[in-house]
């Protein structure tokens, strides 16, 4: 049972309150009809499957209901940080240097 920090509630709460929602920073194309079949396939199905820090979405589904982003290390299953939806992908090298 992981503990997850909801950036909207600003509270660290048990994993059972949250739902995983796939990889983060994959925006729906503004005009899907302009995409080639290959581009659309990539949007639908191609994911990074990272070994290490993974940018992903979670929803505080049994809490405030908000979707947010997280960086989780897929090797250690440790959350490095969470941040609000719409915020830019954080630069992890800067974060590490600061710590």
């Amino acid at each position: 049972m992981l503990l997850i920090h909801c950036p909207y509630c600003d509270a660290t709460l048990p994993e059972a309150e949250f739902a995983y929602a796939g990889e983060a920073h994959i925006s729906r194309p503004a005009d899907p009809s302009a995409l080639s079949d290959e581009e659309w396939r990539d949007y639908l199905f191609i994911r990074t499957n990272a070994r290490g820090p993974h940018f992903e979405r979670w929803r505080h589904i049994h809490g405030c209901g908000r979707f947010f982003n997280a960086v989780r290390d897929t090797v250690s299953d440790r959350f490095l940080m969470t941040y609000k939806a719409g915020e830019a992908r954080p630069d992890l090298t800067v974060k590490e240097a600061a710590e």
Partner: protein, 996 residues
């Protein structure tokens, strides 16, 4: 007093005898005994038969790592438990126990023939022996193995006990109540931290309980222990005994199982048998101590052969001597102290054979002073005795040569192959280990969690070192919490420091191939098996483990892993760390299913959602079916009716006059706000802009991949408010999907989404007389077809209740759905039922609903679709807003795979011989093709249709929409059925009845 009990010793209560039975025979033990100590006090060493060879086995340990003494325990009907460790089960009045793996009796067991068929059961025997011939597997091998192998008997009755779950938050959790754990807990508690100290034993103290002669701070160790415990209590430390830390998970989440009643003569009424604690700790201190390893040599498994530390525990903690005339074989100093304690208690120790060439002089002198023969640089090569050890054969080893053996008579053989730090919980956290070349053992290294490790659990030995280490761990934990803790030191006299070595199987002067030198007692794995596995190509320790099953029994290799690794490494010619250690996984010790299940059983296994109308249906004798978490009325049988008759009557009545149906479980979502129509346009395939308030429309929801996710009728209540309905099972999923798009893709849209599933009770009224029934109840609305045509919605009053009234139909008949606030649902239902009496209104259930909709070809998402069905596949192109530039899933509808020919498409099927098809049955185009046949699709829905006077079915068939009128074949066990492909709209294809 029992024959082997020593008056004045132990922590048992001599004034409190407790009776129990073992294999039908009555014995007496004392309060404070375990089953094992009580049997030993009565001279009983033979406690079980081994798993594979059915060899007679006795108790080896005095703790939870016990591999041999597994027994069945019982407290009456439903309360039988197999594989209980006799070393853990405390004696209670009336306890009945039995040995396992024996037939007809423990002393004479027919399965022991396996022991002679040794070659048959060598490493990899499952993979090799039973391969051929195939027919032998079912008739010979499997029944034989099932009868002969297996641990214990599964209980067959329902467990009547209850099991509790609790949460606990603390600053510091200390696992292990020995010297290190106690000093860590006290140090941390004095800093002001909240501390929990847990231990799996009935009392705190760990090895101190087995070492009463050691003196700490001028007191005997037991007096010191009592004082420490009262200090811990005074400092507010929560002390939890009989509580096992079974798993250590992420972010210092530790699972504990507390055994609440198994030790009690009479459990208090209503008390849970066990309690699972979910602990979240800021800091964890692991002070789990170390586990003693056996030595590996021929005959090291006879009853009476046990770990030296166990013998010391039986003596000091239970006042039981394990024999009158013991012998010791060891590679560690600790066994010498066990021998001294036995002699000092009046037993005889014939000899100590130590595998090391030189041993500390003070130990040798102390042994000689007690009349013990000291044999250094020796190996053990055999034991004798069938149901109890009678002698051990020891030989000198000089320059690698094994000399002549001598036989030493004994009735107990104490062995010690060194100690392994208990790394299990640390390993659960994926903490890394480091190989200590001096002690030849693994030690904890890099930590992944906020934890400290103290004492023997990190390889320290001797109370002085361990106490000091516990204080250090307590300080470290306190400091990590931002507190300051004071150091303290304890003065230890008569300490028992020690060192030793780990090794592979002992050298022998006999053929190693004939030696039955056991590494894993519980799975009957010998040193020879491990060497054979390496010879046959296993290189990784994980492969050796699976091939030999070493360490795979219920004790998870607590005693066998390191010995197995030593032998495998030797066979591979590598150092142990290069071969690696297998991974320990939770739980630390076998844990009952009840403890995991907790409250999640019976009526509280899962919630049952009920509609407001459910009590009426129940009173009418409705038969229910589960639909996601809901229970829904399936059909309403009248006296003497079976399901078939009831459904046929309900269908007939609805089409002939009027039926009523509880549709409250339908998912409902309100989409509100200035941008609601734009949001609907983007989410659903249909166009919404031109839908006028007061009108509704069938909505189709796709995933971005173009496959159908959900559907339902959607009413526009006002320009900025949509009443969306979803499938019963899809409500939460659809709302989540809508929220996802709204929050993350289109946060600019001004829209609010609200789940209203449980705010509304919904009653569907269908049939030619539906309007006549409702007209009696509706106020403020003209229900005529001109004013309120098909696909209308309005707010009005029904039976005096505020309502949202839809004119829609899932039956093909004139239909209405009345929504009222849920608290009025039952009132509405009764009012409609009353008003409908004049027309013989018929309440119907989900089965009739399914039949009626299938007759019209209305799909059920999830039944007629399976996540790979597009709107075109389902014949729902008409629901797509072709002029819309975009909606969720639109781009995928032109993907190459989606527009490819021969996709499976939804069609109707009518059998030629009038038989009803089975849902899920596979369809082929050519029944005479060779096996395996090419499947062309499957039946998704199949019902007897009263309206059509014959069975009907829906199916997905390759290229089905272009095969109208063609014949397909459905092979069944009793013959192949021919069916014609038709439209799915079986009844009233022109839809005249809707317009009534």
């Amino acid at each position: 007093m029992s024959r082997y009990r020593i008056p004045g010793m132990g922590r048992v209560d001599p004034a409190a005898p407790v009776s129990f039975t073992f294999d039908g025979r009555s014995y007496q033990g004392l309060r404070g005994d375990t089953v094992a100590s009580a049997l030993l006090a009565n001279g009983v060493h033979l406690m079980g038969r081994s798993f594979k060879y059915h060899r007679p086995r006795g108790v080896v340990t005095a703790g939870s790592e016990e591999p041999n003494a597994l027994i069945g325990t019982s407290r009456g009907p439903g309360r039988f438990e197999p594989n209980t460790r006799a070393t853990v089960q405390e004696l209670r009045a009336g306890l009945t126990t039995e040995s396992q793996n024996k037939w007809p009796s423990l002393k004479f067991d027919i399965g022991a023939v396996n022991d002679r068929a040794y070659m048959l059961f060598s490493a990899g025997f499952y993979y090799k022996t039973f391969m051929w011939p195939r027919s032998f597997w079912d008739k010979v091998y499997e029944p034989f193995i099932r009868a002969a192998a297996g641990l214990g008997k599964s209980p067959a009755e329902v467990d009547p006990d209850s099991y509790a779950h609790r949460n606990l938050h603390t600053d510091v959790l200390v696992v292990g109540g020995g010297a290190a754990g106690i000093s860590a807990a006290l140090t941390a508690a004095k800093s002001g931290a909240r501390v929990v100290l847990v231990d799996e034993n009935p009392e705190m103290g760990g090895s101190l309980l087995s070492d009463p002669s050691v003196r700490i701070d001028g007191r005997g160790s037991w007096a010191w222990l009592a004082e420490q415990l009262s200090q811990l209590r005074a400092a507010g430390v929560r002390l939890m005994t009989r509580t096992t830390a079974i798993g250590y998970y992420h972010q210092n989440f530790v699972g504990l199982v507390e055994r609440v009643t198994d030790h009690l003569d009479q459990p208090p009424h209503g008390a849970p048998r066990e309690r699972m604690w979910h602990v979240r700790a800021e800091q964890v201190v692991l002070a789990q101590g170390a586990l003693e390893k056996p030595l590996v040599f021929d005959g090291n498994d006879r009853p009476g052969v046990m770990l030296a530390g166990a013998a010391q525990t039986y003596l000091n903690r239970y006042g039981v001597k394990v024999g009158d005339n013991a012998a010791v074989v060891t590679s560690h100093d600790s066994a010498w102290y066990a021998a001294f304690d036995l002699v000092d208690a009046g037993a005889r120790v014939a000899a100590i054979a130590d595998t090391r060439d030189s041993v500390r002089p003070d130990l040798v002198e102390a042994a000689r002073k007690r009349g013990i023969l000291v044999l250094t640089g020796h190996t053990a090569t055999a034991t004798e005795g069938r149901l109890r050890v009678k002698s051990v054969r020891v030989n000198p080893v000089r320059n690698g040569q094994v000399g002549a053996g001598r036989k030493i008579p004994c009735d107990a053989l104490l062995i010690c192959g060194g100690w392994t730090p208990s790394l299990h919980l640390f390993s659960h956290t994926k903490g890394s280990l480091t190989w200590d070349a001096d002690s030849r053992t693994f030690l904890p290294d890099h930590k992944t969690e906020a934890c400290q490790i103290a004492g023997a659990g990190r390889g320290l030995w001797g109370y002085g070192f361990v106490l000091e280490d516990g204080v250090k761990a307590g300080i470290a934990a306190a400091q990590a919490l931002g507190r300051s803790a004071d150091a303290s030191d304890a003065r230890v006299e008569g300490d028992r420091p020690g060192t030793g070595i780990s090794q592979k199987e002992l050298p022998t002067d006999r053929s190693p191939g004939k030696a039955k030198a056991f590494v894993d007692y519980q799975n009957d794995v010998t040193a020879k098996d491990i060497r054979l596995a390496v010879r046959e190509g296993m290189r990784s320790i994980e492969h050796v483990k699976r091939y030999t099953t070493n360490g795979m029994a219920t004790d998870q290799g607590k005693m066998s892993n390191i010995n197995g690794l030593m032998i495998a490494a030797d066979a591979l010619g590598k150092e142990p760390p290069q071969v690696g250690l297998t991974t320990f996984r939770p739980p630390y010790t076998p844990t009952s299913f009840g403890a995991f299940a907790g409250y999640h059983k019976g009526a509280t296994f899962e919630i049952t959602r009920k509609t407001p109308i459910d009590p009426w249906a129940e009173a009418q004798g409705a038969v229910f079916e589960p639909v996601s978490l809901w229970r829904r009325a399936w059909y309403f049988p009248k006296a003497g009716e079976d399901m078939h008759a009831a459904v046929a009557r309900e269908c007939r009545a609805t089409r002939a006059s009027v039926g009523m149906f509880d549709a409250s479980t339908l998912g409902k979502i309100e989409v509100a706000g200035p941008d609601a129509v734009e949001f609907m346009n983007r989410m659903y395939t249909n166009p919404w802009t031109k839908l006028q308030p007061g009108r509704c429309r069938y909505g189709l929801l796709l995933g971005e991949d173009g496959f159908i996710r959900d559907d339902g009728v959607i009413g526009r209540m006002s320009p900025d408010l949509f009443h969306v309905t979803t499938t019963t099972g899809g409500a939460a999923r659809v709302l989540n999907m809508m929220e996802d798009y709204l929050q993350t893709e289109w946060p600019d849209l001004d829209v609010w989404l609200t789940s209203t599933t449980e705010q509304w009770a919904t009653v569907a009224v269908n049939g030619p007389n539906a309007r006549k029934v409702l007209e009696k109840l509706v106020e403020g609305l003209d229900l005529s077809d001109t004013n309120f045509p098909h696909m209308s919605v309005a707010e009005c009053t029904v039976a005096g209740l505020p309502a949202r009234l839809f004119r829609i139909s899932f039956t093909g008949e004139l239909g209405f759905e009345v929504n009222v606030p849920a608290r009025h649902g039952l009132q509405l239902w009764k009012a409609i039922h009353e008003a409908g009496q004049q027309y013989d209104i018929c309440p119907y259930g989900t089965e009739t609903m399914h039949v009626l909709r299938a007759e019209k070809g209305y799909i059920i998402v999830g039944q007629d679709t399976d996540g790979t069905v597009t709107p075109q596949d389902a014949g729902l192109d008409w629901a797509i807003g072709k002029a819309k530039k975009d909606f969720v899933g639109k781009r995928s509808l032109s993907r190459p795979d989606i527009v490819a020919p021969n996709r499976k498409q939804l069609v109707g099927l009518l059998t030629e011989d009038g038989r009803k098809l089975e849902e899920g049955a596979q369809i082929v185009l050519d029944p005479s093709q060779s096996l395996p046949m090419t499947m062309a699709g499957h039946v998704t829905s199949s019902y007897d249709s009263v309206a059509l006077g014959r069975p009907i079915a829906m199916a997905v068939v390759t290229g089905g929409l272009s095969r109208m009128g063609e014949t397909v074949h459905i092979p069944m066990p009793d013959g192949t059925i021919r069916a014609t492909i038709t439209s799915t709209n079986f009844y009233d294809p022109a839809g005249e009845r809707l317009k009534a």
